[in-house]
């Protein structure tokens, strides 16, 4: 299960670390299981009824950050992000 979660999470662990993490995750999930003891139902309307649509931003074009700033923390070339070759 932890190996599957690691794949989902885009993480890799050494065999030893995976075993250690699996043990910790078992303890953590046992703690999380306490929520199963109580019978409550989620009411999605209650959480979302106060979203006031007129207060959302207008769908209009505004200046955005300059490209050189956006790539300033990345490996870049000609103001583009560089990734490994993905097509032959």
């Amino acid at each position: 299960m932890v190996k599957y979660l690691a794949d989902l999470s885009k993480l890799e662990f050494s065999e030893q670390k995976l075993e250690e993490t699996a043990g910790q995750m078992t303890d953590i999930i046992n703690l999380m299981d306490t929520v199963k003891e109580i019978d409550v139902t989620y009411d999605a309307y209650k959480d979302n009824h106060d979203v006031f649509l007129p207060e959302l931003r207008c769908d209009s074009v505004v200046p955005s950050m300059a490209t050189d700033k956006i790539v300033s923390n990345a490996v870049s070339s000609d103001n583009c992000f560089v990734v490994p070759k993905v097509v032959e």
Partner: protein, 483 residues
């Protein structure tokens, strides 16, 4: 007056009356940082050169008689708040070299008042922890006992204020990360109502719970910093359009008739005897001031830690999926044959163990087959916690609880994740319900370690808890850490 005794309002007077210059004030703190921070390790980045430039600019404004409340005041900033041109690491290797190209809204607001930034303070990696021991760069120690943790995740901010390496600091609080370190380090910390302060430029951990706040020497100073950072922001759709009052305006008003509720579950087994007794003693002091103590109950507290970790980790797993080694952040130096491999290697090298555990838990509770049993159940529990708070607040104005079950402990005790999670029991419900809360010191244990109490307020009623915390502080003599 010595630097260690100066509150923000003393500094304002001293600056405006030219008893001290902004540069001299900043230099006093940098001297302290040079002298003590090698041991305390509260800062990840010290920004002395920038600060002296800011102090000069602030002084020009002060000289013209145009100072705003925080002009020329030195401030430390938690390292998960974006500062344009200044490294913002989140105490994580994955952001070790990240230099934000923009300022967080809180920094824009503070810079508009010409503050002087002393540096960026240490924290648990991505604010995930209660000890500052998951920091990849500076495992801060407690100024009261260097063999103990300062709490977390804003442990650097709390320790810096406690050790007089900053007069005030910005912190962030997702599950107690301002209040618990403030309690452990013997200072005051306020988490405002969710949505009071814009989260734009705050590196996201759990977006429905994160909130920026203040850690200072007392409630009055925290209120002054809040005055500067609250308010609606077009860049944060969750920020509130509520009016921002002067949070210090109620300070000094009588506590007579104020109803303070004491939920019995917060004083039950699991809370250290000395902590319980000290907080109860503080409650009696409020009674002596004319406040009325009200008994109440919060049965959902039993499920609060699980509810919090399910929600927080689900959100963290989503938020941290942005770290791919491509747009910004650590990129593996290993040659990768595929896009997938680049992402997996970069993330695995960049994130620490606790962050990885929380991503795994988040993805677990969001997975098909587990979503209803865990995540949706946690959403339902959040509604129950909010309802219980609403019911309690029908009978009272403020809720009083311990800030943490224990005083600060040794770093060895942080090895077990489950016991660390359980230690958040006193603080997480405030974030789950989006309420404001302040922690202030109410006593010391037999070893001289600070004990904090939390005052929880109604939504958007920060001034109530600031007033109450100040009322207690006026009759309390803090014991400073021996440096």
């Amino acid at each position: 007056m010595e630097l260690k005794d100066m509150k923000l309002r003393d500094m304002r007077k001293a600056l405006d009356s030219k008893q001290i210059s902004s540069a001299e004030l900043a230099k006093g703190y940098f001297d302290n940082i040079k002298k003590y921070d090698g041991e305390i390790k509260s800062y990840i980045t010290v920004t002395e050169e920038l600060a002296m430039q800011q102090a000069a600019a602030a002084q020009d404004i002060i000289n013209k008689g145009e100072a705003k409340p925080l002009t020329g005041i030195p401030i430390a900033v938690k390292d998960n708040i974006c500062t344009k041109g200044v490294k913002t690491t989140c105490a994580s290797k994955i952001l070790e070299n990240f230099i934000p190209p923009y300022d967080a809204t809180v920094m824009e607001k503070l810079n508009a008042q010409n503050i002087v930034m002393l540096g960026k303070t240490s924290m648990d990696e991505f604010a995930m922890g209660g000890s500052t021991q998951t920091s990849a760069f500076a495992k801060t120690v407690n100024p009261y006992n260097k063999g103990c943790v300062p709490g977390g995740s804003s442990g650097g901010s709390a320790a810096a204020v406690s050790a007089r390496l900053a007069p005030i600091a910005l912190g962030t609080d997702t599950g107690g990360s301002i209040r618990q370190p403030a309690s452990f380090c013997g200072v005051t910390g306020i988490k405002p109502t969710y949505s009071r302060v814009s989260r734009y430029g705050l590196v996201a951990f759990a977006s429905s719970l994160d909130q920026i706040g203040a850690i200072g020497l007392d409630a009055h100073d925290c209120g002054l910093l809040l005055n500067a950072i609250c308010g609606f922001d077009i860049h944060d759709g969750t920020s509130a359009r509520e009016d921002v009052p002067d949070f210090t305006s109620t300070i000094g008003e009588s506590m007579k008739g104020v109803k303070i509720a004491l939920p019995k579950e917060y004083f039950a087994d699991g809370i250290d005897d000395e902590v319980r007794e000290t907080v109860m003693k503080a409650a009696q002091q409020y009674k002596a001031m004319g406040a009325e103590l009200v008994d109440c109950s919060m049965p959902s507290l039993k499920y609060a830690v699980s509810c919090y970790y399910l929600l927080a980790c689900a959100e963290a797993a989503s938020n941290l999926s942005r770290y791919d080694g491509i747009k910004y952040g650590h990129r593996t130096s290993t040659d990768c044959d595929s896009y997938e491999e680049l992402i997996v290697r970069s993330r695995s090298e960049g994130f620490g163990d606790e962050v990885k555990r929380r991503i795994l838990l988040g993805n677990y509770c969001l997975s098909s087959g587990y979503y209803d049993a865990y995540y949706r159940k946690a959403l339902a529990l959040r509604q129950l916690v909010r309802k219980e708070y609403n019911d309690i607040f029908e009978k009272c104005d403020i809720i009083l609880t311990p800030t943490a079950p224990t005083v600060a402990y040794s770093p060895e005790k942080t090895a077990d994740p489950v016991s660390m999670y359980q230690a958040d029991i006193c603080t997480v419900t405030v974030n789950i319900a989006g309420l404001p809360a302040i922690s202030t010191t109410c006593g010391y244990d037999k070893n001289g370690m600070p004990i904090g109490m939390s005052l929880i307020g109604k939504k958007f009623r920060e001034q109530d808890i600031i007033k109450a915390a100040d009322a207690f502080e006026q009759g309390f003599t803090p014991v400073l850490p021996k440096m």
